[in-house]
């Protein structure tokens, strides 16, 4: 087996991964550095982000305001030291991206323009019309090409982390095009593989978001933090789950039930005004808006369509000129995918799984408890997002904590000696596992797609917007059975060349592990906070649960849940007040 060696290896080539890699190259150009990704970096899911990225820029804004919005938006589960570092470093990261060429939208005099966003009290969301994720990713990718020290392993799928003597020492991967299995011994590994929306059946997330990095870390002994917190975005297109950006509401769009009524006024989110009001109504936080949808549905005030219940997002009153200038992608997506023009017609929308607040437990520098292993972006949980992330904080998080993880990993790598040869034995074990249990496996009767569908249905039934202990308990059993059935998988493709059935099987296996961690964490948290709403425990319980859950994988494979206190610096837990 080929074994390569790198000082720093970044797994994942999206916003966080590329930012981390550039930070490594700039911090210490002498380090050998590589980015390994299962797709070409510009295919990464950062590309789909639309609305913008938050950072204080206006004179009337302040770091404390951004911090408070983030902490109250997260229902006080954010670590406040992390949030303070985040809001302070955010503007420089945004400017850095500007210096690298990101085509930010501008004011007439050439300065950066900002827009309002849900749960934010001041306009601080930088944007590039409604395609900021796309522009951020391509700016980072194209900029990364100028660093000759940065080597890439494109379309290489990481299957396992190598751990020896309590330290992460590299990875085993498959080059998808050829099926070649190889190892990279690395002094530090940074995981930046994104979230796991595909654990659910209805999601804005691309096909590639299968929780790979979360499962890799979990299997290697690092805990997953706050996995019960799953964000439903309130405005997805039925059937496809395509995201209609929150910017549609920040520009002044309304949410209307089947009677044409702006129903959010019934859910403690303020009074309807013709113009958008910050931290009010349609500019409330995502968790509250998605919960309000379910209540409306229960009252029979939603529409029923072939793909479930829906309500309307109305942006007609914004006018064609504004829509084309600030929301062109919304118009393009509506025309192309639901055959309607939002200039003239209302958009059918329903809540859709969008983002994982939880992820691999890291400290404020992106370090996980496993020495040598770092994580940043959606795969990680620092935590700045707490129980509910505010829109436009995640792209900024990719940059701020991507850069932090890169710098920290570069520092750690520079202090290490050559890596331990014990990992080579592990690497050949992994090669044997991949070949025997998957590539050359000819028996078995379970189809990947059937198991995946059952897993997704199970997750939606138990871990959706509202949850109960009984449903979660049932789901834990069902997932365990799916894990058993996974061993009886039938693979039809035994080719070494671009075998997507093999990668599909590996992804399913990652998702089953991550799904179990989500369910176990949700079952253990007997309170309601942010996006985690337990109808059998409807109150927030700061006495018992002002704490992060940590899911550890036990030797038997099942998760064990532990807790870690939340770091409170200056904002003691209070009530989340919107619309006032």
């Amino acid at each position: 087996m080929d074994v390569f060696s790198r000082d720093v290896l970044v797994v994942g080539g999206g916003g966080a991964g590329l930012r981390a890699a550039i930070a490594v190259a700039e911090a210490n150009p002498r380090l050998s550095l590589a980015v390994i990704s299962k797709v070409y970096p510009m295919r990464s899911h950062t590309v789909s982000a639309e609305g913008g990225a938050a950072a204080v820029i206006k004179p009337e804004d302040s770091f404390d305001e951004h911090a408070y919005d983030t902490i109250s938006g997260g229902d006080w589960l954010c670590d406040q030291d992390a949030v303070e570092a985040f809001v302070k470093e955010a503007p420089a990261e945004m400017l850095q991206l500007e210096h690298w060429g990101c085509p930010w939208s501008r004011q007439p005099d050439g300065r950066i323009a900002v827009r309002s966003f849900g749960g934010m009290k001041v306009e601080r969301t930088w944007f590039a019309a409604d395609k900021i994720g796309f522009h951020m990713l391509h700016t980072l990718f194209q900029t990364s090409l100028k660093y000759d020290a940065l080597q890439r392993y494109d379309e290489c799928f990481v299957t396992r982390l190598l751990v020896d003597d309590g330290r992460c020492r590299g990875v085993v991967a498959i080059e998808v095009a050829t099926g070649r299995i190889f190892a990279i011994a690395a002094k530090t590994v940074i995981l930046a593989t994104g979230g796991c929306g595909r654990v659910f059946p209805f999601t804005t997330n691309g096909a590639i978001k299968t929780g790979d990095g979360m499962a890799l870390a979990y299997r290697a002994g690092a805990p997953l933090k706050d996995m019960e917190f799953v964000q439903y975005h309130p405005t997805g297109l039925p059937f496809t789950g395509i995201l209609i950006t929150e910017a549609a509401r920040s520009e002044g769009g309304w949410l209307l039930n089947k009677d044409g009524y702006r129903y959010l006024q019934d859910y403690g989110l303020g009074k309807p005004e013709p113009k958008p009001v910050l931290r009010s109504m349609e500019l409330g936080p995502r968790d509250r808006l998605s919960q309000a949808f379910v209540k409306e549905q229960e009252k029979g005030r939603t529409f029923e369509g072939p793909y479930g219940h829906y309500v309307h997002l109305d942006i007609r009153h914004l006018g064609e000129e504004l829509i084309d200038r600030k929301l062109p992608f919304v118009r393009e997506l509506c025309r192309k995918y639901v055959n309607l023009d939002p200039v003239k017609e209302m958009i059918p929308i329903q809540p859709v799984v969008h983002y994982m607040m939880g992820g691999i437990h890291t400290d404020i520098h992106g370090a996980t408890p496993l020495p040598g292993l770092y994580a940043a972006g959606e795969v990680a949980c620092v935590s700045i997002n707490g129980a509910n992330r505010l829109g436009s904080n995640s792209l900024t998080e990719c940059l701020v904590f991507g850069a932090r993880a890169g710098r920290a990993a570069a520092g750690f790598a520079a202090e290490q000696k050559e890596s331990n040869p014990a990992v080579f034995a592990q690497a050949s074990d992994e090669q044997k596992r991949l070949e025997e249990s998957l590539l050359r496996k000819t028996d078995g009767k379970e189809r990947i797609a059937s198991l995946r569908e059952e897993m997704q249905k199970t997750m939606e039934a138990c871990a959706g917007i509202y949850r109960t202990g009984a449903a979660l308990q049932q789901a834990a059993q069902d997932l365990h059975q799916l894990q058993e059935r996974f061993h009886d998988l039938r693979l039809e493709d035994h080719s070494y060349t671009f075998n997507t059935e093999l990668t599909g099987a590996l992804e399913l296996s990652f998702m089953l592990d991550v799904g179990e961690a989500i369910v176990a964490s949700a079952l253990a948290r007997r309170e309601s906070r942010g996006s985690h709403q337990r109808t059998d425990h409807p109150q927030r319980d700061n006495e018992k649960f002002l704490a992060h859950s940590l899911a550890y994988r036990t030797p038997e494979g099942l998760p064990r849940i532990d807790y870690l206190p939340v770091t409170i610096t200056r904002w003691p837990p209070g009530q989340r007040v919107y619309g006032k």
Partner: protein
């Protein structure tokens, strides 16, 4: 489409199969998939992969026309299959093949490493004499200055323009529409001074002069980038540079 119109229950897809370990050349294999009004070609391919034949290989991810993964030839035209509705190809059969002019890796998957080399060669990053410290804030850029290059910044690297370009089909060395459009994206950015550094590759033997302005690249672009326009535009500036450097070698470029 009227609701009374009778819709076919299924649609036939003729899909390229090629496994280099087993076959010496690509063949077409026929599959049936359910017909649904709101299904795209990619949905049908996923149906086939999930329910019928797990060994079919293709790339896809976002399913909203922005990641650029799922470009294929649909009935002979380069398309993003996530935006190619089955209803536009009735009654079928629908021919789905890998993007032409690229080496086939397997089934519907092509090798696009050539593009990645070319992309790097055009230096698609901001070139400046001196970096301004972040503490001095942003480089001012008016909406009008942004508009000059914005369109060329919308390229998603989906490779449809290369599959549409007859020149690329004949001369694989040609830098090609997307890479030239992206070079021009930076050349036209008020924050960049790298046009001179990009001149050699763009005006060289595999650069813009290869293009005979067929314009197919612009027609197939799913993001309304106008690579043909970028090339025409560059020919004007490139010609000026060439004139100055060859005929007036003592002059300032």
């Amino acid at each position: 489409m009227g609701s009374r119109e009778k819709l076919p229950p299924t649609v036939t897809l003729a899909v390229t199969r090629y496994r280099p370990e087993e076959e010496s050349e690509p063949t077409l294999q026929t599959y049936e998939a359910p017909y649904r009004k709101d299904w795209v070609v990619l949905d049908a391919l996923n149906y086939i992969k999930d329910k019928v034949d797990g060994s079919l290989s293709f790339r896809w991810s976002c399913r909203m026309g922005v990641c650029g993964s799922c470009g294929m030839m649909v009935n002979g035209e380069p398309k993003l299959t996530c935006a190619a509705f089955l209803s536009d190809y009735l009654p079928g059969p629908i021919r789905v093949e890998p993007l032409q002019f690229f080496p086939i890796v397997r089934d519907l998957v092509v090798d696009m490493t050539d593009f990645l080399h070319k992309l790097k060669k055009v230096k698609p990053w901001v070139v400046r004499e001196e970096e301004r410290p972040l503490s001095e804030g942003e480089y001012r850029q008016t909406p009008e200055q942004l508009d000059i290059y914005k369109q060329f910044s919308m390229c998603i690297n989906c490779m449809l323009c290369y599959a549409a370009c007859p020149i690329y089909g004949l001369e694989p060395g040609f830098v090609g529409p997307a890479a030239i459009a992206l070079a021009q994206r930076y050349n036209l950015d008020s924050r960049d001074i790298g046009a001179q550094e990009r001149l050699d590759i763009l005006s060289g033997k595999d650069g813009i002069w290869e293009c005979t302005f067929v314009g197919e690249c612009t027609k197939v672009c799913p993001k309304n980038v106008d690579p043909a326009g970028a090339i025409q535009q560059y020919k004007l500036t490139g010609a000026a540079h060439w004139f100055k450097s060859v005929l007036l070698p003592w002059g300032r470029k």
